[in-house]
Symmetry: C2
């Protein structure tokens, strides 16, 4: 494997285990089998490495999500497809997904939060736009797209958390239950 990829992979692993601030650049270099100047050659700084880790991993996630968010009139179906995509991506990229969540919940002035905020906003924007399109067909959803986006993503992340903490298998039943429960919260 190329040195650059090796650094990205080891960086993610170490950050996900102990956190961005607790891992030193030296340790990342040692684990990757390279030296510090090589790391700085590719990523410029420790935060540059974090940015690169988030950027590369999120790009594949967003690619899948944007396909799933293709609303054509069927609310339930679209929300299920998005939920399925989140569950599937989180299941097969659990290290990254958990790390990304830890960044999102990090203190507001921490490096981890500052680095992830654009990707968090991008998820919200995608979901808000989706709920706005849905509201054109369902008047009772109007003007609530922000809350829908936030609570929908919160619910998805709750169930992804259940996978780790209670060994919940994120199968098709859970997908349907999640969306069913969310829509009941909306339409009643």
């Amino acid at each position: 494997m190329e040195n650059q990829e090796k650094i990205l992979e080891c960086g993610l692993t170490l950050f996900a285990e102990r956190g961005f601030d607790a891992v030193g650049v030296q340790e990342i270099a040692d684990t990757s089998g390279i030296t510090k100047p090589t790391l700085y050659y590719y990523f410029g700084s420790k935060e540059g490495l974090l940015d690169a880790i988030l950027s590369t991993n999120f790009s594949t996630m967003f690619a899948r999500l944007e396909k799933a968010a293709n609303y054509q009139g069927d609310v339930k179906n679209t929300l299920e497809e998005i939920t399925r995509t989140y569950f599937s991506y989180a299941s097969s990229n659990l290290t990254f997904y958990r790390f990304q969540l830890s960044c999102w919940f990090s203190p507001p002035q921490s490096a981890a939060f500052k680095a992830i905020i654009i990707y968090g906003r991008r998820q919200y924007t995608m979901l808000e736009n989706l709920f706005q399109r849905m509201a054109q067909d369902h008047g009772n959803m109007l003007g609530r797209h922000q809350r829908y986006a936030a609570s929908f993503l919160g619910m998805i992340n709750t169930y992804i958390g259940l996978k780790a903490s209670v060994n919940l298998e994120l199968d098709e039943t859970v997908v349907r239950n999640t969306v069913h429960q969310f829509m009941h919260g909306i339409f009643s």
Copy 2:
């Protein structure tokens, strides 16, 4: 204010702003208007200070929660009372509540996570016991207390998150909606 309390307060503020690892002991001492040996006299280590911050703040939260978790046959009422307690505590102790959440989502080998794990477990245990008592009256809840506890707390934290991100007022309506939505997820 006593030096000890001052350190606890400044420590919480700084940790909540930038994270446990990113804040140095020296800065906490300076902000508190004391010197490092004084901090080490009271708390022994940086992690000792973190433990003390969590311990003192959680003790009041658990005191309120355990009163609220007094199930006497009315599921809806009890869950609403717990939700109300969480919302109320989080609203009036937002700095601590957000910091506590950031610790809970921290990487598994980080100091922050190791320090908070016993309080996280205690919340789950309290909720699991509650759902187990409820299952004695409602057979269809049997054997699911772990998932109920995790998803209930997840839903509560999602709505507390909405307060910060979308300015959602956590009033009585939200309390009832949260429990209604959660129970619909259970009973259908």
